[in-house]
């Protein structure tokens, strides 16, 4: 038995190696890298709670803003000071994790095709969050706030929005009014949070069963980490703002305020052009780099009973139940929205008609892919004819370890768009009719399925927790599911060897040539 063939791309390899560093400690399902989007939302919960505490003591006035924040930071360092640090660092963590989320989805190609909507709606979210942070820095009214306020005013004044330039509000210390703080507080505390929540809602609108909250262990761990860091490196203010001086040295928050130093070197219009260009490029990526679009799943009414399992299981919400059109006794039938279908095949795996035991030729099912029909799957379930035992059917997916790299006597490989495409009956068939001694499933890493739920549905079907159920008669010890990252081919290889070894020891495994 050997492994050869195509390796995953460099970006995916580097990403997988980085993420695997955390798997031993957190486990694959709770690997923080698998929950970046949910972690961003969680960090905003921390920001919200800590922000409410800060608001109780904050004064929205020119004279009160700086002093109230200072009192909060120093007079009650154990509460207000920690809350302030938590507020700031959770905001920074949110931006950092958001950047990681964006990069990760980009490297994995999860920005195009039907996923364009989530990608596209994520781009404004970036800016909403950045503006959120910027307005937060204004509220302190220290020298950093002054630097940010003056820079923002210069930036906004080149837009044809204000007839009276905004920069006039920051000419002298006397030209800043209390109303400014009321306005900023309104924007930061009411306006932007509402816009942010709406933005997040739009972002996940097309995602079925979105994971909004990370696992509790990640919530607890990150909160403890932030608390310790807040105590070790408390957030502090700069000296109070004075518009008649230029701050000499600023501890700039580069995650939120990186745009302002650009104003020292480039005209405001150039900075706007760069920001707009970057945003447009980012938003247009799904169309600039569309990738291939496989043919959508097809419904075969002769085998569709309108049970709705495919509707439940489709991670993309691409299938609906509609009233029956062919006059058969069933109430409804499945209907695929081709624009939303990525041809993952999970619907084939969920269809009770997807059974290789059925005898008609060619074998059809209620729903399958034109490029990989149920007949193709049935034909692939046969041993290599070498008579080598234990014979194993190794089923992989396009995004996990490439199983086609493995070959050898007694080993048959089958690569599906997603392991969720494999109907439970096909496992039964492989063991009872196909002549296999065992079936090994090697999908994406646990908690990191490319199609989000393919691995989970498969596991649940085998455990008889989700229909269609794998028959109780099928010996579970002859089935092995190992969910690994695309780079873990050596691990899959060793686990395959160990599985074959176990199979060899089992009574009932036919004796034969060894691999």
């Amino acid at each position: 038995m050997k492994s050869t063939g195509r390796k995953p791309g460099l970006g995916i390899s580097l990403l997988a190696r980085l993420e695997l560093l955390l798997t031993p400690l957190f486990g694959s399902i709770r690997n923080p890298f698998h929950h970046l989007g949910a972690l961003v939302v969680y960090f905003f919960w921390i920001v919200l709670v800590s922000g409410i505490y800060l608001l109780i003591f904050y004064r929205t006035s020119l004279a009160g803003a700086f002093d109230s924040v200072e009192r909060l930071t120093h007079d009650q360092w154990f509460a207000g000071g920690v809350m302030r640090s938590l507020h700031r660092y959770a905001s920074d963590a949110a931006v950092l994790v958001m950047g990681g989320h964006l990069l990760r989805e980009f490297l994995r190609g999860r920005f195009r095709g039907v996923r364009w909507y989530s990608w596209f709606t994520g781009v404004p979210l970036l800016w909403i969050v950045i503006v959120f942070g910027i307005t937060g820095y204004w509220m302190v009214w220290d020298q950093l706030a002054q630097f940010v306020a003056v820079g923002s005013a210069h930036l906004l004044d080149v837009l044809p929005v204000f007839s009276d330039p905004m920069v006039r509000s920051f000419l002298t210390n006397e030209s800043v009014s209390d109303r400014f703080f009321t306005l900023i507080a309104f924007i930061h505390l009411i306006g932007l949070p509402i816009v942010l929540v709406l933005g997040i809602w739009f972002h996940v609108l097309r995602i079925r069963l979105p994971r909004i909250n990370p696992p509790r262990t990640l919530m607890a761990g990150s909160l403890i980490g932030l608390l310790i860091l807040s105590l070790l490196v408390p957030a502090e203010s700069h000296p109070p703002a004075d518009l008649m001086i230029v701050p000499q040295s600023l501890a700039l928050d580069w995650l939120y305020l990186a745009v302002y130093p650009l104003l020292d070197h480039f005209p405001e219009r150039s900075v706007w052009a760069a920001l707009a260009g970057f945003s447009l490029l980012l938003a247009a990526l799904p169309w600039l780099w569309p990738g291939r679009r496989p043919a959508a799943a097809q419904v075969h009414l002769s085998d569709c009973t309108g049970c709705g399992y495919c509707v439940e299981d489709c991670p993309y919400g691409a299938i609906d139940l509609v009233p029956r059109t062919d006059g058969r006794k069933y109430e409804s039938e499945a209907k695929v929205t081709a624009d939303l279908c990525v041809a993952c095949g999970i619907c084939t795996g969920s269809c009770p008609s997807s059974s290789p035991f059925r005898r008609h030729e060619p074998l059809t099912t209620g729903i399958d892919l034109p490029a990989l029909t149920m007949q193709d799957i049935k034909q692939a379930i046969h041993t290599d004819g070498s008579g080598t035992h234990p014979a194993v059917l190794l089923v992989g997916c396009e995004h996990g370890v490439p199983v086609k790299r493995f070959s050898g006597p007694g080993l048959t490989t089958m690569s599906l768009p997603c392991v969720g495409m494999l109907p439970p009956a096909a496992i039964d068939y492989a063991l009872r009719v196909g002549g296999f001694d065992g079936v090994m499933l090697g999908g994406c890493a646990a908690g990191d399925c490319f199609h989000r739920y393919g691995d989970r549905w498969t596991r649940d079907r085998i455990r008889r927790a989700r229909p269609p159920l794998l028959r109780a008669r099928v010996p579970r010890d002859r089935i092995l599911m190992r969910r690994l990252k695309a780079t873990e081919h050596k691990r899959l290889f060793s686990q395959l060897k160990a599985f074959r070894h176990r199979l060899r020891q089992m009574p009932g495994t036919e004796p034969g040539g060894d691999s």
Binding site: M244, Q248, A251, D253
Partner: protein, 173 residues
């Protein structure tokens, strides 16, 4: 074992979050090089009309509705403002700015800032706010003592021109 795992996870979280805390305050940014100050110009000025107002004749006034019988008729457009600034004998600014508004009937706004080494400078401001080409209608001279880190402000309004030397007192005209 569980305790070790919790400690390990906490340490990893601190390691993962450290870049966020680091980038929240480092590297330091210096808006100005050491020994430099800043000069700001804020010009908000109403220039003269492109054409002078014309007094309406009694016949013209009579032709108007009773509630709209004004004495003068003025065209809305105003002249652009041309501003010169000379600093230590060298030209720092020569800008012509149109008045705001769709009909160029608003005020002229001009805001600029320059960083420069601290020191004593003679500053000359010229402003032309009447139609046509030519030299300045108003000229003002200042002695500016710019201290390191100071942000001086040349404030030009309607009939008022002030130099506010930031950080320390400057001398007026």
């Amino acid at each position: 074992m569980i305790a070790l795992r919790v400690i390990g996870q906490t340490l990893v979280w601190m390691l993962l979050l450290a870049p966020a805390i680091l980038l929240a305050q480092w590297p330091l940014h210096e808006p100005l090089p050491p020994g430099y100050g800043e000069l700001r110009l804020s010009l908000v000025h109403t220039t003269q009309r492109l054409k002078p107002c014309r007094r309406l004749s009694p016949v013209e006034r009579q032709a108007l509705p009773p509630n709209m019988r004004k004495v003068e008729q003025c065209e809305r457009a105003r002249a652009p403002a041309r501003t010169w600034i000379e600093l230590a004998g060298r030209g720092l600014l020569d800008a012509t700015v149109m008045p705001k508004g769709l009909h160029n009937d608003g005020r002229v706004y001009l805001h600029r800032r320059w960083s420069m080494p601290a020191g004593r400078y003679s500053l000359v401001l010229g402003l032309r706010d009447t139609p046509g080409e030519g030299g300045p209608d108003h000229q003002h001279r200042f002695e500016l003592e710019l201290k390191p880190g100071a942000s001086a402000l040349l404030l030009v309004g309607d009939g008022t021109v002030q130099l506010l030397a930031g950080g320390a007192a400057g001398t007026g005209p």
